[in-house]
Symmetry: D2
């Protein structure tokens, strides 16, 4: 693991997610830029002293020298955005698979380069767009794909948070500090952090691709340098239209990412804060509530089932969705290492292509927001 020392939010989440299914063991780490923190964090995590590294370069170099049955199989990178490309590229170059937090890199060019390297080496790269790991998101995607709703006409995705309603970054909150800092976060704040999740979810569930957009980004809290709020009109490759809203100044909101997709015959609605219900609406039938783990006569899609651990009514949450990424990645990796062909369910995790589209999304919304033209083509 690169990053994720004491008090890091997302590093702890990665570890829980990786541990959950008993398939992955944390073996070494370059856990912090601070040597002291790195050592202390290593202890806290019961790592052997000789595998607690002080920087990722050492870690990758040393680990690659270990015999195959001792060394790590893959590297998780959970650092701020500006420290994604370096360790990821080096890991790929040394033959390690990679799990990488989103957004993929600091710039679009880095993302393309990284994708190219992954393609060349044949190594796997998993990008932790957590929300696509939920079973009912899988079900939503499967239903759209099967044509349950006919041609899709409208995609409505929203991601309002309230945690940056004040200048939290000035109060010593580490999360807020790097996310609002162009030097560590990149050219967008809100859209980079959560807009990318919303865009990935929109494309993942609808099976469509954004082709044009019209963005209106804002800095609502004076004194901030990056957008903390934005609204984007969308057009998709099949003619559907959409709206993407993301905000970090929606005071009082926690994390209610929500998507609605409408087609000719009906629509669906899924909300992250109540993730175990997929609301399915029909033109001339009563609305249905689809739930994971329940034995319906017409079963849920194999993708939903594969990503469910508990029987109906035993709610799974964010950590399980996150763990599904790790689990699928690990299952696919094991299969490959053992010469088996991974199933489509195993391979169903976000990868380098999503990462490149995510970075392009950031570039395009920032460009559109600065433009007087209504529509900006989605270019990569």
């Amino acid at each position: 693991m690169v990053g994720g020392g004491k008090n890091a939010f997302i590093g702890a989440v990665h570890r829980i997610a990786a541990h959950m299914d008993g398939l992955i063991e944390l073996s070494c780490g370059a856990l912090s830029a601070s040597a002291e923190n790195a050592v202390e964090s290593g202890k806290m995590l019961f790592l052997p002293e000789d595998r607690v590294y002080l920087n990722y370069e050492d870690m990758i170099r040393q680990e690659s020298k270990l015999p195959a049955d001792k060394r790590i199989d893959f590297i998780s990178i959970v650092t701020p955005n500006h420290v994604h490309f370096g360790p990821a590229m080096m890991a790929l170059e040394h033959g390690f698979h990679v799990v990488l937090d989103k957004p993929m890199t600091f710039t679009l060019d880095e993302a393309k380069e990284l994708k190219k390297k992954a393609d060349e080496t044949g190594l796997m790269l998993c990008l932790t767009h957590t929300y696509s790991g939920y079973p009912m998101v899988k079900q939503a995607r499967a239903m759209v794909k099967e044509g349950a709703f006919g041609n899709i006409r409208k995609v409505y995705v929203e991601y309002p948070q309230g945690w940056l309603s004040n200048l939290t970054e000035k109060t010593g909150q580490k999360q807020a500090a790097w996310r609002t800092d162009p030097k560590r976060s990149g050219k967008s704040g809100c859209m980079g952090d959560i807009g990318t999740h919303a865009a990935q979810l929109a494309e993942y569930v609808s099976g469509l691709q954004i082709t044009e957009l019209c963005a209106d980004l804002h800095i609502m809290v004076p004194g901030r340098k990056l957008d903390d709020d934005g609204n984007v009109l969308l057009r998709f490759n099949n003619g559907a239209n959409g709206v993407l809203m993301a905000s970090q100044v929606a005071a009082g909101e926690e994390n209610p990412l929500k998507i609605r997709v409408y087609g000719e015959k009906g629509g669906l609605e899924w909300a992250q804060q109540e993730p175990n219900t997929l609301i399915v609406k029909w033109l001339d039938q009563p609305t249905q509530l689809l739930r994971p783990g329940v034995g319906y006569t017409e079963p849920l899609s194999s993708f939903a089932q594969h990503n469910t651990r508990t029987p109906g009514g035993h709610p799974e949450g964010y950590l399980e969705a996150f763990a599904n990424l790790y689990r699928n990645f690990a299952l696919a990796l094991s299969a490959k290492m053992e010469g088996r062909k991974p199933t489509p369910e195993m391979l169903d995790f976000p990868g380098a292509a999503d990462g490149v589209r995510g970075m392009a999304f950031i570039d395009n919304v920032v460009a559109s927001s600065a433009s007087k033209e209504k529509w900006t083509k989605f270019t990569i």
Copy 2:
């Protein structure tokens, strides 16, 4: 009443709303363009035969000749949009107050002319933007006004319906037929019918005015002549931004108009299908559910209380919200007729100014949608 014969949806709603509080009596009608329907409808409504008119011109002329204690006090106009201006103007000219269905007229110019006449005559005009009649909408407006949320940053209003997902207008559905017909509806379909409701609600609750917009209207069902779907980016006069979505092809949706407003200290959420709960979110306090008719230590605003008929937990709905418009109009009218000064609560119903803004909203979104410029100034 002008319009509202047998089988007319909104005419029946107007009558229930007018009757509900025992303050208003239906006395005469020009209920249908078809003489037969007009007569039959008059019978059905227990109207005296001599006050069942075959057209509004006759009605207004005849009624204005009756002695003051016999003739009607005001006229309700519940016809399709292209028959709003004529009877409304003639009513004002003959000294009758007017209740008028929205949107106010067929064109913006008509709306301005009507407003001018109402202003000149001092007669009252009530425009039935039903949704602003709900008690918890009143409460929302009052809280924003009192500064409970600080400066407003974002307004998010959505109005997805699904009833025009197919070419319903070709199946003999009268409602669908006139609403999709440019000759009767005007230059916009979806935005004129429900977008205007959403815009009025956004301005009413936030106390702000839209100053710029960027619209993307669509005809999603081939063969239709007017927009049946649209997304609009908004900017308000205090610097807040917003999104307005309205659709009649959101298959599976009924009528879930919903508004969210976020300020510096918190936000609110209100949804028309569960109208008796106002969700109030705070930056650092638990979310609260405000409900009408409950005796809180810190009571609801006088506007919410005035528009509530039942004690807590006895749900009121759409018809009561509609009746609140009639009730306030009737109370204000009675007060005026009796030489009393109407209270602010009585005068709190949408009027000619809202109507003009609504017609301007239609003009501006249609213009913006046709433009390649990102932003269109909201002009009247």
Copy 3:
């Protein structure tokens, strides 16, 4: 109308409900035991002076002497429980139909006597168990009746209110005062006031009858004379079991009457505070949300449709449910007066038989609560 003067809660509700559909006109009243209040209330309601009576005896006598086309058709009685029997019996004796607030009378014997008189005279008696007037309650009953859920196994009804959590009756609250007073309310407080609603709803929806019960009533607020809380185990005539809970000391609750019924194949859930959704659960199909006014391929029952005024998504509430009782009563009355046969939908309002069962319910729960025997037979 007997009772229902200024400030009376349920009288005002009755008037709104009666007015709503334009079928009923308030023509006279004995509105208060206080002469002053009676006269003032009559003015407020625009009643002609000569039909504002000072007591119900005068009213019934005088009205019965008027010519048929002038006099009232029926009498609404909205007084406290101890003044139900007198006016109702006298009205029946003078040939007037009756609408009567629940519970039917002060004692079970009175109820039986009243039922006998109604049966003998052939006059109609409508008992305002409001909650059975909701369209989705009608739908629930229809689905159970059609066997959609197979044999019913369990009925779970709850009615928690919080308004008597303190000794409100000592603070001048009139509603609380008579409802907690054995001389005006009868032998039970909570069970008489709201337990009867819950029991009627349970039997109405399930189509079953309670045959045995085991009650545990409580006075939770010291200083009170009648039960303010209670739990009752139920057994039904088909072998189903159930629970009925009613409380007026469930602090913080408004009026969330709720019923759940489970059969072999599925179950249903309906809650009064969100009355426009009937949740239907299936053994091996996704849960469905049934909603009034929506055009499903398989339409809602004719009873649900008949009691719906608005299209889907335009919520109806408590006042409409109440108005459905009056509307059906008026439609059945008109039909009878005009020699037509009322439809089953028109006749679907609670009557004398429900009233007798309600009074027996009160007697039986009070007896059971005082008994050390587990089960008390439901006797009438």
Copy 4:
């Protein structure tokens, strides 16, 4: 681990819960009564071959002979009820701490004996009443304890499931088979399996103890030997009353365990299927929604915070609640092993005393249901 071989539901849950926080490692197992299954399951779980045992006696004996730094610290027992006492007692006798699935044992006497042994040895015993592991359940308990609601008056707990609506046990469903078999489950089916959860939750949240009960148990599906449904009236040691309902034939229900507690000043509501919201209702203040991980000005209780892993809006679920039991148990164990005093938060997991009360609950409801007396004293 004893039990929990391939296809066992609760064994897998235990493992995920134990793994989640990286504090516990599965080291050995007697995973199945079938030797073949035991061996295969051991492989599947990456256990070293020499620590895959064929029965728990071998396991406990062998492990106790290993040096302290090699042998296991505690044993998890996840077998059907009739195989709880044996391994648990033997584990305690050999100095191992115990995690034990509920209900504690097959008979009340066994439970008492086990508790005695645990008390004597000073070894820890954790009983996996999962639902008390949720952060918002902790918050509920804390608020009641602090007197936020005043004296508690009413506890309403319900646990309707639908999975045994048919004779599932005859279709080869292993879960259903042992749970409906008196030889493996004990003297109660539904009340033993889920009624005990409901009772434990009621006492845990309210801080009260059941002193009397009146039970009505049923076998609703013909051909079954143990109760599959029941309703119980409750009385508590402070004079509060309550209702406990548990059913496995509530067709269409998943696992919606729900508790409501009402006191003098307000009440609370928590439902397992949406576990991240605690609804708090006040007599004269708006209802509040309390949520884990949110930084309120008045923070959640230390118990809620300690049992939360994610920031607000990142839902945790059943597996996290389960993991909280393991985590607290492990933290307390580590503290003890390292000579530190465990914090109250660490020690907050259900133990032998809860287990004895649970077994007594089963005995008492079964006795009460068979009795004609209304009330049965809760005896241990």
